[in-house]
Amino acid sequence: MSELPDTAATRPSPDMGVLLIGIGLIAVAAVILWDASQMTMAPLYAKIGPKVAPNAIAGGLVLFGILTLLGAFRGWFPARDADDWAGAAWVAGGLSFTIAAVGLDIGFIPGMAVLFAFTARAMGRRALLVDLVIGVVIALAVYLLFTKLLSLSLPRGPLERLL
């Protein structure tokens, strides 16, 4: 709730971010309802089957979605300050690389080293190479600890096959 509800209520333009959340909630509800409608089952389960919960939950999402849309026009949500999208993008980029490293057999250690260095970059460090080296050391230690000591299997790439 904003600090000045009276002026916020008369604010001419809706809160676009909140508006999108409301639309998103209703869209998710639509997907759940569609998915439930695709289920075919014996009439025995018609009243108490696997469709009941999805339909009820979708109903709740529609209700809260509508209330959120209302909130976007009425200024029910707290004000937000501007974002630094670059920082968030570094973190997301690092994690995306890790996903690629697992999917494309680049290996655990490179994936983790890049994730570490990119996250540090996101938080304001300006020494990507040094952080990459630190990342490799950490990832190597973790890899050896997990695979040798706890005998968990981690994804292996060319580098890990040498160990």
Binding site: G49, G60, L61, G87, A92, A120, A139
Partner: protein, 500 residues
């Protein structure tokens, strides 16, 4: 009564075995080390360390868990006192006075009263747990499926709507969690739901993946986007670590009062330790003989809330163990830890695996005692952990978060969920949505659905079965009150404000 002592004795016999003691020690140590890192609360500590317990036997792993839980809580209060960055809202009250004490060179006594207060409160609350659990179990055995469903509805309402900043946002969070809970194969009919032909999704969403994504990845994205790369000032622990005679005199009553406030509130399906900590804070402020010291580092303001925090954490184990009902994010993750071994907390677990349950309760006592012995001498080590620069700290958090997911399930889909739910956690922080209801909705939703369908199957689809027993009706009435309470309170506050 006598049976409780006998059961607890057996529990101690199990928990005092050398290898179990080692598990408890490792858990306490790791829990404190991770919990002390700024921005990591107990829920994330437990989620991050869950993969380490994968290869242990259930008893050993749950004992380690108990240690991690208590250690994580203790670590959080150290952070709150020394750098005024509470890792979770339950440590906020501690930070208010504790950080002032540290600034005034009384960091040692602040840490000591927090540690001893946590110990005393943990002790009282664990005794409460041990003696309350058997009678609750007996009550729970008489619960029908419809009663269980009503109980879960009540828990849903209280964790999402009653105590948050906004009931709309809390309930929206809960329903997002419930939606995620649908994903996977329906246990009763084998029907695939929201799987979209992706095989990895048919097992459903892992609670740990969701929790780590929301708490760790979401937090990292949020901090990076805020760009508040300001280094927090760490107060050095100067002077004596020991409490003076006066400190003791001023601390012991707040400890007891905090424990008595925290345990019942934690044990009710009310969720969250914030309420008892703030209640304790304002109570101590009112009772304090030197009220002007409040705001400038009054030791009562650390002793009371810390005791309340720990007692309520032990309190949340009451509904978790006896009813299988998680009422906090941490409890939800612990429930996931149980489920990973095919164990379902609830009355049946007490009957089927008494060794495990009572061993766990006994190891809570042991973990509590270990923390007291371990933490004050090691405070120098914890302070050094606090000095890790923020970029490396978050780099490390991301590495551990991702590694845990990879160790559990090395699939691109699982890691993709980490990224997607991380983005969701970021948005939720940005728009001020509470996170715990999502985690609780994910794990409790399917359980509630099972109870609902069980009740309706017995009644052949007749909905009136849901309100047939007095227990159900009572629970729905309380749930309705809990849902309406925030609106009434706001209205009353507005009226009061108008009169001023």
């Amino acid at each position: 009564m006598f049976e409780t002592f006998a059961a607890l004795g057996n529990g101690f016999a199990l928990a005092l075995q050398p290898d179990k003691l080692l598990f408890a020690l490792v858990g306490v140590f790791l829990g404190t080390a991770v919990g002390v890192l700024p921005g990591i609360g107990p829920a994330l500590t437990v989620a991050l360390l869950l993969p380490i317990t994968f290869k242990l036997d259930p008893t050993g792993s749950l004992i380690m868990f108990a240690g991690i839980y208590y250690g994580g809580m203790y670590g959080g209060s150290t952070t709150a006192i020394l750098i005024n960055t509470p890792g979770e809202s339950a440590s906020m009250a501690t930070a208010l006075e504790g950080n002032k004490m540290a600034k005034a060179g009384r960091g040692g006594p602040a840490l000591a009263t927090a540690a001893i207060g946590s110990f005393v409160a943990g002790l009282i609350a664990t005794i409460g747990l041990a003696f309350l659990a058997p009678s609750l179990v007996e009550l729970a055995i008489s619960f029908t499926a419809a009663d269980y469903f009503a109980l879960m509805v009540l828990a849903f309402v209280t964790v999402s709507a009653t105590f948050g900043a906004s009931p709309l946002r809390g309930l929206t969070s809960l329903f997002i969690g419930l939606s995620l809970g649908i994903i996977g194969i329906d246990k009763l009919t084998g029907q695939q739901r929201l799987v979209f032909g992706i095989p990895d999704l048919s097992d459903g969403v892992e609670v740990t993946t969701l929790a780590v994504a929301l708490f760790a990845v979401g937090e990292a994205l949020f901090v990076a986007s805020r760009h508040k790369a300001v280094t927090e000032k760490i107060e050095a622990v100067r002077g004596s670590l020991w409490m003076t005679k006066e400190d003791w005199k001023r601390s012991w009553k707040p400890w007891l009062r905090g424990a008595l406030l925290g345990f019942p509130i934690g044990a009710l399906p009310a969720g969250g330790a914030e309420i008892p900590t703030f209640l304790s804070y304002s109570l101590e402020k009112r009772l304090c003989k030197k009220p002007d010291e409040f705001g400038n580092g009054a030791i009562e303001g650390v002793a009371g809330p810390e005791a309340a925090n720990n007692a309520s954490a032990a309190g949340t184990l009451v509904p978790l163990l006896t009813l299988g009902l998680p009422t906090s994010a941490t409890a939800a993750i612990m429930l996931a830890g149980f489920q990973q071994y095919g164990l379902n907390p609830g009355p049946l677990l007490f009957a089927e695996k008494p060794d495990l349950v009572w061993g766990l309760i006994a190891s809570l006592f042991i973990a509590n005692a270990m923390l007291l012995v371990l933490n004050l001498p090691l405070v120098g080590l914890w302070v050094r952990l606090l000095t890790i620069p923020q970029p490396w700290l978050y780099g490390g958090i991301m590495v551990f978060a991702t590694m845990g997911t990879i160790a559990a399930k090395p699939s691109v889909v699982e890691l993709g969920m980490l990224l997607v739910f991380g983005g969701m956690g970021f948005l939720m922080r940005r728009f001020d949505y509470p996170i715990a209801p999502v985690v609780i909705g994910l794990i409790l939703g399917p359980l509630a659905e099972t109870q609902l369908r069980r009740a309706l199957t017995i009644s052949l689809g007749d909905l009136s079965v849901l309100v047939k027993s007095p227990i159900s009706i009572g629970l729905y009435v309380v749930a309705a009150i809990a849902l309406l309470a925030p609106f009434v309170l706001t209205r009353l506050r507005d009226l009061g404000a108008d009169e001023d």
